[in-house]
Every structure is written in C-alpha cells, then in structure tokens.
C-alpha cells in the first residue's frame, strides 16, 4: 500500500506548531525590537503548551546583553534564581544545547539548590529547550508548571519545533537591531569626522606642518583640557564663526 502523494499528514504536535508559526509569520514584518519579539514568543509558548503556569525566554547577543521575558512572575522568579545560583536546568539547556525536562522537582537530583528554591515558589515540573541558530546556542526557552508531570514527549517535541523557528526569527531580529545600531553610529561618526577634518584644515592654514601635526595639536589640546577631541575641533570652528559674526556686526 502506497501513500498518496501530497503534504505529509499533520501530527497533533506539528499542527500546534503550525498554528504558532502562523502567528509568528504574521508579525515578522511589524515587530520593532528584539524585546517585543521575545515577548511575543514567550506569550505563544505559554498559551500553546497546555498545563503551563508560565513561559520564559532568555536571549544573549554578541555583546553579552541579555534580553528576557516572562509571561508570569513565577517564571521571572524561578529564572532569576538560576542566575543567582549560577546553575539550573535552563542554563544547562542553554550551555549544552539540549532540551531538559523535569517531571517532578521533588525527586530531581540535578541542580539541588535550584530545585529546592523553585519548589518553594510552587514550580513542580518544567521543560526547557535551547535556542540555537547556526550551531550557536543564543538562549533558552522554558515553560513551568505548578503540577507534577505536566510535560510529556509530545510537549517536548512541540516546544523544540517552536524553538527552532523562534530562533531564526530572534536571530534575525538581533541582526537587524545590530545593523540599525551601527547605521546610527555611523551617521554620528561621519558628522564628527567632518568637524575634525575642517579643524585640521584650519590648523593647516594657520601653519601646522601637515595633517598629522594638525591632528597631534588637537590631541594635545584635548588631553590637556579633558575636552574630547571632536569637541575641541568643534570649539575651534565655533571660535572662527564667532569672530566673523563679531567683526561683521559693527558694519
């Protein structure tokens, strides 16, 4: 018996993910920042994985800047504990690049300090999967439950599939955010460079031997007065226009 050609039948897990992806896809173009993307991904994870008290996403960019989101204070507290203690299932999922599931915190023997503290908060089971892009772990996504054995293999599969797609989106948002940042830095830099260039020209006109000497004069004036070099340059230019408008005013 041969299967009819066409799309593979949707398993329950993939249909859940398909619903989440539809929502992700619809907002890709409208999302503004890494933070709003992380918030959305967190919200979707919390509503899709049944029995979940709260979901969380932690992301780290190339500058070691951490972006986190939590759909519930319970998640924020349980996550904060991991950072304070320096160990925990989500940090392991992140660093080892594997998913980690705890069916019952009371009987879990790994991360004893965290399981005891999180158990006090009311967490009884949890599931964490890494966010991996281009072979690099950039963070972790997790769901916490107030009941034991909330998450089964299927939940793990759904969250893993979801994390794979979310990783692509999050990585793109981080790249976009870097590009926006660089673009605005470069605009500033070009403006300052123009001012420094004009100031060097003024110094050359007034007798500086060459461009390098003119720059060295700006360095000297900057380091002796504690005024930044580009501000020294701006002040030099301002002094010229002041003088000119001053000499023009009596006319």
């Amino acid at each position: 018996m041969t299967r009819r050609p066409g799309p593979a039948p949707l398993t329950p897990a993939s249909s859940d993910v398909a619903a989440m992806l539809t929502q992700l896809g619809g907002v890709v173009l409208s999302l503004e920042t890494v933070q709003t993307t992380v918030d959305l991904v967190t919200r979707l994870a919390a509503t899709t994985i049944s029995g979940t008290a709260g979901a969380g996403v932690s992301l780290v960019d190339a500058r070691s800047h951490r972006t986190t989101a939590a759909s519930d204070p319970l998640v924020a507290e349980a996550d904060a504990l991991q950072y304070v203690l320096g160990s925990g299932p989500c940090l392991s999922a992140w660093s080892e690049g594997t998913s980690i599931r705890i069916d019952d915190l009371a009987t879990e023997v790994r991360w004893p300090a965290w399981t005891a503290a999180a158990g006090d908060l009311g967490v009884q089971s949890m599931l964490s999967v890494p966010l991996v892009t281009a072979g690099t772990s950039v963070g972790a996504m997790k769901v916490y439950s107030r009941h034991r054995q909330t998450y089964d293999d299927r939940a793990e599969e759904v969250l893993t599939l979801f994390a794979q797609q979310a990783s692509v989106l999050l990585a793109n948002m981080m790249t976009l955010s870097d590009a926006r940042r660089l673009s605005s830095q470069l605009s500033d830099a070009l403006h300052r460079r123009d001012v420094v260039g004009q100031a060097k020209g003024v110094l050359l006109a007034r007798g500086a031997a060459d461009e390098q000497s003119a720059f060295a004069m700006l360095v000297a004036a900057s380091s002796r007065t504690g005024v930044k070099l580009h501000q020294v340059a701006a002040q030099l230019l301002a002094s010229l226009t002041d003088r000119r408008s001053g000499s023009r005013s009596p006319d």
């Binding site: 500058r63 300052r192 460079r193 110094l203 360095v219 004036a221």
Partner: protein, 112 residues
C-alpha cells in the same frame, strides 16, 4: 611603522579594558578621521597587519577617550570642591593658538 612590533598588543589590552567591541572602536576611529576599514583594523589588533603611524595615533586617541570615560565614571565624587579644580577650565582653542605660535611641530611639547 611606528613603535615596537608588539604595540598592537597595547591596543588590544586597552580595548579589552575599555570593554568595547572592535566595531565600536572602528566607528570611533572613523569619526576621528581614520581611513582604514574594519577588517584591516581587526587584522592590526591581532598582529596580522601594519598600521601607518598617523593611523595608529588616531586609533590611540579613539581608545584613550574610551578609557578616559571609564576612568571618569569610576571616580568617587568629592563632597567639598573649589570651582573647576580638575583643570578643565583651560580653553582648548587658546591652547591650540599657543601650539601654533610655537612654530613647526615635530618638536617638543605637542603631546600633553
């Protein structure tokens, strides 16, 4: 090509101390009139390329300003101060005039 062959390590150490990325440093260097691209700068910092002296001085100013910011931010403020005790009241434009009057540079006194 300026200074000893391990000068690039001074830059890398300073960059790490200032906690800035190579891209951040390159943007600052560009703003000060630096001419070389990001990849050449990165190669220099790793000891794989040479930088003309003038470019090294521009890079030095870029990184020294970063270090200065860090140092200023780390200072403990005084409770009782007399005005402008840090010497920043000096006018950089007047100082430039003085440097120009001193005649052709390359002699002493240029770097404060």
């Amino acid at each position: 090509m300026g200074g000893d062959e391990h000068r690039h390590q001074l830059f890398e150490t300073a960059r790490h101390r200032a906690g800035c990325t190579i891209t951040d440093l390159w943007v600052d260097y560009l703003a000060l009139g630096g001419r070389l691209d990001l990849f050449t700068l990165e190669a220099y910092l790793h000891g794989l390329a040479l930088l003309p002296e003038a470019q090294q001085d521009i890079l030095a100013n870029a990184i020294n300003e970063r270090l200065e910011d860090l140092y200023q931010a780390a200072k403990v403020p005084y409770l009782c101060t007399v005005e402008d005790q840090d010497g920043s009241q000096a006018d950089p434009v007047e100082l430039l005039g003085e440097l120009l009057r001193r005649g052709p540079p390359g002699g002493d006194g240029l770097v404060g």
